[in-house]
Symmetry: C2
Subunit: 170 residues, 2 copies
DNA sequence: GCCTCTGGATTGACATGTCAACCAGGAGGG
DNA sequence: CCCTCCTGGTTGACATGTCAATCCAGAGGC
């Protein structure tokens, strides 16, 4: 936390040029990686990263089906985003939605055979792309450091700046 | 190095679970950062990161104006993306487009007073957000490592997998 | 002159994301 | 019973991105 920081960043408010450069490298590189992976995934299996996340979660689910809310929680998406995306995937025949008989109100999302097959075909190309684009570019030390840095950033995000709205509402 | 895993990195094709975890941390964290920064920028100055990039480039240009293609090259965007974005920004009065008198065919993009003012107001909040969300989360060592890692990834992207289409057409 | 080629920029169709509004079915509380 | 409030989910409007097609104005070739 801030208490343990040396005198260095005392009254300073804005990042230095060095810090800004690191920020830009980080964010632009992530962007470039995402875009490259997306296009590879697209040509190799006609799936987007979003499709892949959804299909992965469903594939791992007990009966290849999940409640919409459980799916959203699993992959960390907002509800409306998932709803829109499921609509598009349903149009393409990758998943199906049906009223959940066992429970009130909830919709079950289930994998169609076509969806399962598309996922199966995309897995190896997807993993290979990750290795080629990311893993192969880094030394083992760098790879470990990358994970630690990302974890630190995530933890910082989750604590201090957690939802713009302080959660201490009674 | 993790001495647990033997040195058989040669014939392996797919990432290990460890490597995959690092990848996911990296890419999801970058995504979360981008989204958080976007919403802060939005509430504090009604600008998107895209708006900011365009306004920054124009602000630094000689006469606060640039050819469309020069602008695209400067911020690394595709032409059609820039064209769409300029259309939206023009509707909001942030920039203006005019036929370039000095040259054929080219359109000049120029900053309006409203655009310059919006950019001026957004600068400090933007930089402050970067410090709070990124710089403050990392130790100086981590910050440096993050820059190096991103640079390595970028270099790897630019070399081996350069454009899906080898550019060596005579 | 006419045809094609090329470079700069725009356009349209569509995928993806976010935000706010809405809807439907219970649960409480009066 | 009626009203209100939650929860889970959908919808519409709109911003953002990508791809392919198009337009337009020279430059060359004939």
């Amino acid at each position: 936390m801030t208490s343990a920081t040396p005198a260095r960043r005392k009254g300073r408010q804005l990042p230095t040029a060095e810090e800004l450069r690191a920020w830009r490298e980080y964010i632009e590189t992530a962007e470039a990686l995402r875009s490259r992976l997306t296009s590879r995934l697209q040509v190799e299996s006609s799936l987007s990263p979003g499709d892949y996340s959804v299909l992965l979660a469903l594939s791992e689910a007990p009966e290849r089906q999940l409640r919409s809310s459980a799916l959203a929680a699993h992959i960390g998406w907002e509800r409306s985003r998932l709803s829109h995306h499921l609509g598009r995937m349903e149009r393409r025949g990758l998943i199906r939605r049906q009223e959940c008989a066992t429970e009130r109100g909830g919709a079950e999302v289930l994998l169609t055979p076509a969806g399962a097959e598309a996922f199966r075909r995309s897995t190896v190309p997807h993993l290979r792309a990750i290795r080629e684009l990311f893993v192969d570019a880094l030394t083992p030390d760098q790879l470990r450091a990358a994970g630690e840095i990302a974890a630190a950033l995530r933890a910082h995000l989750d604590t201090r700046h957690a939802g713009q709205a302080p959660p201490d509402v009674p």
